[in-house]
Symmetry: C2
């Protein structure tokens, strides 16, 4: 599909989606790989997005009664082994600490000191169920100690052979909630509540529509009874798991010994849950909203809402232009948007206006305002919205723009959500037969085997054999079994592969 | 010194300061050790204090132009070695990752998979100069790219043989600022600026007075040209280093290759700084303000400012009492204190009022309000301040208390600072002779060898030999050489040990 206009990003999404993604992450200065295999540096602009995610999600966790705490980075190997499925699920990707000192070797180079080998190796947490479980076992004695509602923001490590910035990295940042409840019903309710928190957050703040549902057995968290997830469709029509919430039953409390005295004086194991969301979400955001000119940020999550670019071709009007910029910035900052003030940056760097403008386009800032000598007299400003074509500008009287800035940001936020929703709906189909299913997932263009149908909504008998078969034939995975929507209850149906219920 | 009153904490500070500290950390539910040697779990109350420190300090970093980013946990061994003094300084306490997979051994137990041994071991960051330096070397090309002003909040690991919660732990949380500048003068200015930020933060938010100064050569950060620190005196009259700021000269930029084109077209190495503050500060806070009944929190850093304890002896008045508590909480929360609302908690747990009250005393909440059936009629509330004796109460008309809450919190904050200042001044002496110095630092009570004089302000010739001698004789260390105070310029003097200048 040839483009009439030149785009800032090469290749385009259409030409090579995975490479387009790498380019966006690079040119928007979100992150870059470091020499340690699979590790990344999150640059200030990318980290600013993550900080906004953290702050907003954290407020939602607090509002649902959770408090933050911090647990150790290291998990003794013996702890990991307590839950058999769990250790098996993570064994292949564990980074292991075996020494606690370096020394100078005979070759003049530093090496791990043989005398400082640990008697028990330490695993760097890939997730913290086991170490937190051991702690909760001490805290929980009676039903009066329940529920325990704790969250942790931290780094985790899962060794990654095929890393991709944000989406799959050896070290990543995340939050992990860990709760203990008195009854199964309460724990199941918590599992669902936190999935809803994720869905709300992703929809209202990141402008990403998702399907919520239950994972099939093969995709379940190792050791969980039930795994719920939210699944987003990004612009290559593939799914990204954007958050998961696990009902762990009594598996981990049995393994860790989280026992309590019930209201009628008996001993019972606690019912636990865990739920997490990670820096992968930054990658999901890029893939959902980015276009061929760069990143496009939903205003609710953008570190900067408005960038003001002074255009100062002549030295004599320079001071006056900068003064107008400063004044506008101050006025805008007095306005509020979302849960804080409008965030404004004046780009005073010693570079041409065009160069600066393109940098901010690539970084995805929602609104750009250029102010030059002519605007001084007219008292007007030209405003560009990132959700519109890059050359589009709307001219406002300065005061009028200040008054409307928050409303314009809201309109961008809505527009991005609607676009994403439309894309997803266009590429999601209800499928009734095996033939239709295979056709939907067979790439139409042999040169781009990664572009296939999208999401299929289909009945399935729940068997692992079918799941393995479609994965082998089509590289298609069952993402989730959608949760019942009270407004549109789903009816029992027949498996499109076997005809079974 | 026998106490007439029974105290909540045994032993008292006077009886056994180190053990008193451990007790406070435990009963105030700040943190607890975990089975991994030297690692701790930071419990929600302790983590709430750390989150407040983070939030407030972070705002000060932003106000001085810094932005946050994130760098990898792992440092390849070859990176660590680039700065010779640096690797030598940290080699003895490095945790080393050598494997990236577990497998089932012949004994049925998991072990690091021999086939998954790393070709180059990875050090878990004890600090990030080297990994960040390697990144900056790519980012910095020209003087236009300078200054680089970045901070990182993260966990670091320094293997600890004699751990103490918060004060010395194998893993701890901290922030590390890393900046690059065009000139030596700018870098030195930054080093000093960030020390001032720390001093202001610790004084105004934690109510801790400190001495600011330069570290002697032996206490300098490995690889630094100059290390500045702020030193607090805690209640055993010893010093705790509460924050450090390092001028690194061109040492690390030479090692990492951070080079830039100057304004006149030459190539020069960047001038770098780094500065950090850690969870050790929570321990410093405990040791500065705690008393024999528990923790005492300066309001500016307390996760909760006011706790309301409903006293409901009779079932019939229960609902009305709870309603009055809820109403008071809502009124208080509308008020502001520091940079946010007044934080209020209603303790509705099914426990006796006395038990609850003592828990909050031990946790150090600034204000406690008990509300019982009699208060319903009178419209009055009895308020206890944590900086007053535990039994002291002041009775307010409810409205009057709401109006004055913020002012009372300010008064507690001031009072705690003045107390700490008085303690420090009482135990700091200007010393002119070697005899006086030895006398000052010789414990007066043989059964409590840890209680000695306090801080000595004395002239010293700067020699390492003297430093080693007083350390060997008295276990006394030179904490810092105070920075010149423009109001009280220090005059040259003669070393009290040698008579040299």
């Amino acid at each position: 599909m040839p483009h009439a206009e030149k785009t800032a990003i090469t290749p385009t999404r259409e030409q090579d989606f995975p490479e387009w993604y790498q380019q966006i992450v690079r040119v928007a200065e979100l992150a870059e790989p470091r020499d340690v295999r699979g590790c990344m540096v999150i640059r200030p602009w990318g980290f600013g997005i993550w900080e906004n995610m953290q702050r907003q999600l954290d407020a939602m966790f607090r509002a649902t009664g959770h408090r933050n705490a911090y647990f150790p980075l290291f998990i003794p190997l013996s702890h990991m082994q307590k839950e058999a499925e769990h250790v098996e699920g993570f064994a292949k990707e564990c980074a292991v600490v075996t020494h606690h000192r370096l020394e100078l070797g005979a070759d003049g180079k530093m090496r791990p000191a043989p005398a400082a080998e640990l008697s028990e190796p330490l695993v760097i947490r890939p997730t913290s169920e086991t170490i937190i479980g051991a702690t909760y076992a001490k805290w929980v004695q009676s039903y009066r100690d329940l529920p325990v509602l704790i969250n942790q923001w931290c780094n985790v490590v899962r060794w990654e052979m095929r890393p991709r910035l944000f989406l799959r990295t050896t070290e990543f940042l995340w939050q992990e909630g860990h709760t203990v409840h008195e009854t199964e019903a309460e724990a199941r309710e918590e599992t669902r509540r936190m999935l809803d928190v994720y869905e709300t957050f992703v929809r209202d703040r990141l402008a990403i529509p998702v399907f919520s549902g239950e994972k099939s057995e093969s995709e379940r968290f190792p050791g969980a009874v039930q795994t719920l997830s939210i699944e987003a469709m990004v612009q290559d029509r593939k799914a990204i798991q954007a958050g998961t919430s696990h009902f762990l039953g009594q598996n981990f409390s049995r393994a860790s010994g989280i026992q309590f005295q019930t209201r009628d004086g008996k001993q019972e194991f606690g019912w636990t849950t865990s739920w997490g969301m990670s820096t992968r979400l930054v990658g999901t955001l890029v893939m959902t909203h980015g276009d061929d000119d760069g990143l496009v940020l939903p205003p609710r999550i953008a570190p900067t809402h408005v960038v003001i670019i002074p255009i100062t071709p002549k030295e004599e009007s320079r001071a006056a232009v900068l003064e107008m910029c400063t004044k506008l910035a101050a006025q805008l900052r007095r306005g509020s948007y979302g849960d804080g003030p409008i965030e404004v940056e004046i780009d005073q760097r010693d570079l041409g206006g065009g160069v600066k403008s393109w940098e901010w386009i690539k970084k995805g800032v929602p609104l750009r305002v250029e102010i030059g000598p002519r605007d001084l007299e007219s008292g007007k400003v030209a405003v560009s919205r990132r959700d519109q074509p890059v050359k589009a500008k709307e001219v406002f009287a300065t005061e009028g723009f200040v008054d409307r800035a928050s409303e314009i940001l809201n309109s961008i936020q809505r527009n991005l959500f609607q676009r994403a929703m439309q894309f997803r709906d266009t590429n999601t189909r209800v499928i009734d037969t095996r033939e239709e299913f295979y056709d939907f997932f067979t790439p139409k263009n042999a040169s781009k085997p990664e572009i296939h149908g999208g999401f299929a909504l289909a009945y399935w008998n729940g068997s692992r054999a079918i799941e393995d078969e479609i994965k082998a034939d089509l590289k298609v995975t069952i993402r989730c079994i959608p949760l019942a929507d009270p407004a549109h209850p789903s009816e029992p149906g027949k498996c499109i592969f076997t005809g079974e219920p």
